[in-house]
Amino acid sequence: MATATATIQGVNWIRLRKKVLSRTTCRGIVSLVGFVVLWEICVRLNVPIIGNVPAPSSVLDALGKQLVSPAYWLSWRDSMIRILTGFVAAQIVGIPIGLMLGVNRMARDTIYPIFEIMRPIPPLAWVPASVIFWPTPELSMIFVTFLGAFFTVVLNIVGGAKSIDIRYIRAAHSLGSTRRDIFWRIMLPATMPSIVVGMTVGMGVTWAVVVAAEMIASQSGLGYLTWRSYVAGEYPVIIIGMLSIGVAGYLSSAGIRVLAGRLTPWLKVR
C-alpha cells in the first residue's frame, strides 16, 4: 500500500523526499542560514571590518529593486554575450590549432615557441593593447575574453593529443584505417577529454577576465555594475553584482558539464 501511494503520477515521492531532506542537504541549509544570520548580527553590532559590509537585509532590499530593473538584466545580457562570443571563438580557433600542434611535429616545432612566449602574459595585460588595436571597446573586450580561454584550450589539447596511447593508433592501422580514419576516429575522440577539460578551465578564466575587463574598459555588464556601484556608493549593489557574477559563473560551468556529458559519453558511465 505504501509503495502504491508513494509513486503517484510516476514520481517516487519517498525517494524524492529522502533526497531533499537528506542529512547533507539539511546541514547545507542550516550552514547557509547560519552564515547569513551571523553576517546580519555582525553588521548590526558594528563588528570591525565586517561592520563596513552592507547587511543581508539591505542587500535583499536592494535586490528587490534590481530584479525589476531592466538595467540589471541588461548587465547580465551584455556579460553573457561577451562570454559566449569570446568562449565560442576560442573553441573554434583553438581546437583545430591545438589538434594540429598535437598531431603535426613540424607545426609544433614552428608555432609552439610563439605560444610559449604569449601564454604567461595574463589576459588582462592585453587590455590596453587590444583597446588600441580593435575599433570598438566591445570588440577589444571580446578579444581579451577570447585570449583567456584560447591558450587554456590549445595547451590542453596539445597535451592530450601528444599523449594518445600508441596502441590505439597501431590497432587502428592494423584494422585497416586510413590517415583520415585515424584522425576522425582515433585522434579526435582520444583528445576529447582534454578538449572538455580545456573548456571547463577556459570557462572559469573567461569569467575572471570579462569581469575585470568590464571594470576597466566598459560601460555595461556585471563587472561594470559592480564597479559603478562602488563609485556611486551604492554598497548593497556591489554585493548583488558579486553574487550575480558567482551565479553566472556557476550556470556557465553547469552548461559546460552538460555539454561535456554529450561529448564524452564513455567517461560518464559509472
Binding site: D165, R167, Y168, A171, R185, P189, A190, P265, V269, R270
Partner: protein
C-alpha cells in the same frame, strides 16, 4: 582477400628467415633479435615463450608491420612482408591483440567490433552490425553491444578484442601477452574462449607469453626463446589432442611437457637475472 579463397587453400603460413633486429636509438646498439628462423604452418597455434624483454614483441611487431627489421626476411603465404630493405606496413590480414588491450574506449562494443569492416569500406554499416551481432552471439558475448569497454569486465574486454580481430577474417592472429595480469579464474575463461575460436576457425595464431602453462595448454608448437638477443632455444610439439579443455591440464603429456619447458626456461631466466645483476653492478 575474400572468404572463398580461404576455403580453397589454408592461409596464414609465416616464414621467418634469419631475422635480426638491432635497435639503435642513440648510438647504443641493442641486439633484440639475433638470427631467428621459424616456419609456421597455416593454421598452426604457435606460442613463443621467453623471459620478459627478450625480443618476442619485436618479432611480433615486425610481422604486424609496426616496424622493420635489420636483416632477414619475413614471408606470409609466399609474399614478402618485410626484409632488411623493405619496411612493412600494417594490414587487416594480421590483427594484433595487445598486452593491455586496445579496445577504443570511446566506441561501444559494437562499434569496436565493426571498426575494421567500416573503415575498410567492404561492408555497409548495417551489414557489419548484423554480422557483428551474429558473431558476438556465437561467441557468447550477447547483451553488451551497446556498452562501453569501461563498463564490462577485463575478461569480457579481452574476448571482445578477439572478436574484433576475427571480424576481419585475418590470415594471422597476433597476440602479445593478451592475458597478462589477469586473475587465474578469468584466465581459464578466456583460455577456453580462445581455444574455441581457434577450433572453429583454424586461423594461424602467433601467441606471445611468459607463462609456460598457458603456452602448453593453448599451443600446438611452443618455441622457447633465449634471453635477449632472442634466439630459439627449443621447440616443443604439443601433442595434446584438440578440442582441449581444462582436463588437459592434468594429463600426463601436459605434465611431461611442462617439466621439459621449466628446465629450459629456468636456465634462461637465470641468465637474464645474472645479466640484470651485471648491468646493475
Amino acid at each position: 582477400m575474400n572468404a572463398s579463397a580461404s576455403g580453397m587453400s589454408p592461409r596464414g603460413s609465416i616464414s621467418i628467415r634469419e631475422v635480426t633486429k638491432i635497435y639503435d636509438p642513440d648510438g647504443a646498439k641493442v641486439l633484440a633479435v639475433d638470427n631467428c628462423s621459424m616456419e609456421i604452418e597455416a593454421g598452426e597455434f604457435c606460442v613463443l615463450v621467453g623471459p620478459s624483454g627478450c625480443g618476442k614483441t619485436t618479432l611480433l611487431n615486425a610481422i604486424a608491420g609496426f616496424h622493420g627489421i635489420t636483416t632477414g626476411e619475413i614471408w606470409l603465404d609466399g609474399e614478402l612482408l618485410c626484409s632488411g630493405a623493405r619496411t612493412p606496413s600494417p594490414g587487416a590480414d594480421r590483427i594484433v591483440v595487445f598486452q593491455n588491450g586496445a579496445l577504443f574506449p570511446w566506441f561501444t562494443v559494437l562499434e569496436n567490433v565493426t571498426f575494421g569492416p567500416v573503415v575498410q569500406g567492404g561492408m555497409s554499416k548495417a551489414e557489419a552490425h548484423d554480422r557483428a551481432r551474429t558473431m558476438l552471439g556465437q561467441m557468447g558475448l550477447m547483451g553488451i553491444e551497446n556498452n562501453y569497454p569501461s563498463e564490462i569486465s577485463s575478461g569480457m574486454r579481452r574476448r571482445v578484442e578477439i572478436a574484433r580481430a576475427m571480424m576481419n577474417d585475418p590470415r594471422v592472429l597476433l597476440l602479445d601477452e593478451p592475458f597478462r595480469a589477469m586473475d587465474a579464474l578469468t584466465k581459464t575463461v578466456v583460455h577456453q574462449f580462445l581455444l574455441d575460436v581457434y577450433d572453429k576457425s583454424r586461423k594461424t595464431v602467433f601467441f606471445i607469453t611468459h607463462d609456460l602453462e598457458e603456452a602448453i595448454f593453448l599451443g600446438s608448437k611452443v618455441y622457447i626463446m633465449t634471453t635477449r638477443p632472442a634466439r630459439i632455444k627449443k621447440v616443443l610439439d604439443v601433442d595434446i589432442p584438440r578440442p582441449r579443455d581444462f582436463r588437459a591440464l592434468s594429463s600426463a603429456t601436459y605434465l611431461r611437457l611442462k617439466q621439459e619447458c621449466i628446465e629450459a626456461v629456468h636456465e634462461e631466466a637465470l641468465k637474464a637475472f645474472k645479466a640484470g645483476e651485471r648491468e646493475m653492478a
